[in-house]
Symmetry: none
């Protein structure tokens, strides 16, 4: 697959950005590296002239930006999502370096649409948002001054995407992805599995929604690491449905 096509499959998702100027800077950063799919989850102020100014020649990305109210909507259809996080979260996917993680992202892009998910300038991503992603990345910074601007973070990771897309021979990337013979599950399919699992655990009494504890995040962490295929989601949901038929819950057989 051509590097340009792989890059076109990467969406950059900005969750709750506060400053329209940063949205513009992100668009410009993306376009310089050949990325084009910008998605905004409840931006505070958009569209905005300041965004257009900072985007300079990348206003087309702003005009085509998809705006959603939840991260789940922004990720619908994506086969792999990477959370950009300044720190390791409890139960979150293990954080990798930009280089190795963008290589994984590009490998996944051979299978479908993938996403790079950035949090708000001040508070970053919530734990719930991080847990919707299959991997996490931290940009190494000076521990005494780690205040990377949002546009700058988009620039560094878009640059690593371009380096990964053009690095090495295409055959090598295809070798990396051969273990996955079947199509990967999409974000919404995986969320469907989690919903089904939660329903069954609630029915059996294993899970108490009034006292959720850390059970659901732990299961997300486990299955997030596995990078589920569509076929596997279907198998797991088949097992869940079969237990429901026995207990009288769920769809009728």
């Amino acid at each position: 697959m051509k590097p340009e096509v792989l890059l076109s499959r990467i969406s950059v998702v900005l969750c709750r950005p506060s400053h329209p100027g940063n949205i513009g800077a992100a668009a410009r950063a993306m376009k310089t590296m050949g990325l084009s799919d910008l998605r905004l989850v409840t931006p505070k102020q958009f569209p905005d002239p300041e965004a257009d100014t900072r985007a300079t020649g990348a206003v087309d990305l702003l005009a085509n930006a998809k705006i959603t109210t939840t991260l789940a909507d922004a990720l619908a259809g994506s086969v792999f999502a990477v959370a950009v996080s300044a720190r390791q979260r409890d139960l979150g996917p293990a954080v990798g370096t930009p280089r190795e993680t963008m290589a994984r992202l590009l490998a996944a892009a051979t299978q479908g649409t993938v996403a790079l998910v950035f949090g708000n300038e001040t508070v970053g991503l919530s734990n719930e948002e991080v847990l919707q992603c299959q991997a996490a990345v931290t940009i190494p910074t000076n521990p005494d001054f780690s205040s990377l601007n949002l546009g700058a973070a988009v620039q560094v990771l878009s640059y690593e995407c371009r380096m990964a897309a053009f690095a090495g021979a295409a055959p090598l990337r295809e070798q990396l992805t051969t273990p996955f013979t079947a199509p990967p599950a999409t974000h919404d399919e995986i969320e469907g599995l989690y919903g089904h699992l939660e329903a069954v655990m609630t029915e059996t009494g294993f899970f108490n929604p009034a006292q959720p504890g850390r059970l659901l995040p732990k299961l997300r962490r486990l299955f997030g690491r596995a990078e589920l295929e569509r076929d596997e989601v279907n198998i797991l949901r088949g097992i869940l449905a079969s237990t429901q038929q026995r207990t009288g819950h769920g769809r009728k057989g």
Copy 2:
């Protein structure tokens, strides 16, 4: 030599910058990656409040910036200088990639002070300025939109400097991640899970031992990829046991 010391030996030289905001963005970008030595060759407007605003917590780099009237003065004492250029110049040093060139820069930094030289936002470096450098670097960009902001260019190259400086140090992964705090499941614990899963699937009728097909290998492949922890095996077996109690199979509650 410690990575922090090597990074402190790199000066970023901005030649004739037009916009004070870009000087501030460059300072912030440098400081996030552990660089601190900013030099300005005949800046159009400096100091300036816009530079301070964009620098945020990196105003100390602005306060300490050395201002000169020629590039030669800014490079005095440097043992190696890299010109940042969007194109190969006639007679200029061959342009390299950021990764390989920043590795050369860091190697040279073990010998003394080194410099990264950026041109004016619109016209770049003059041929005479490029020829004062021993190497040149081009940041790969989208050929249809190569308009990298000056601050963004400083960010990408400062990031590569940091990556090169720490490349020989403790693996970044170890610095970044607290991998898996929980102990991994042992072989027999995982086999116990597979046995339990098979029993439940057989009880519900989802799995027919007389016609096993590829169901069990597929589940092994899935959970094998996940590299299960002991705690996770216990959770999964707890879910399985809870469905059995409902159906009247399994151990008595």
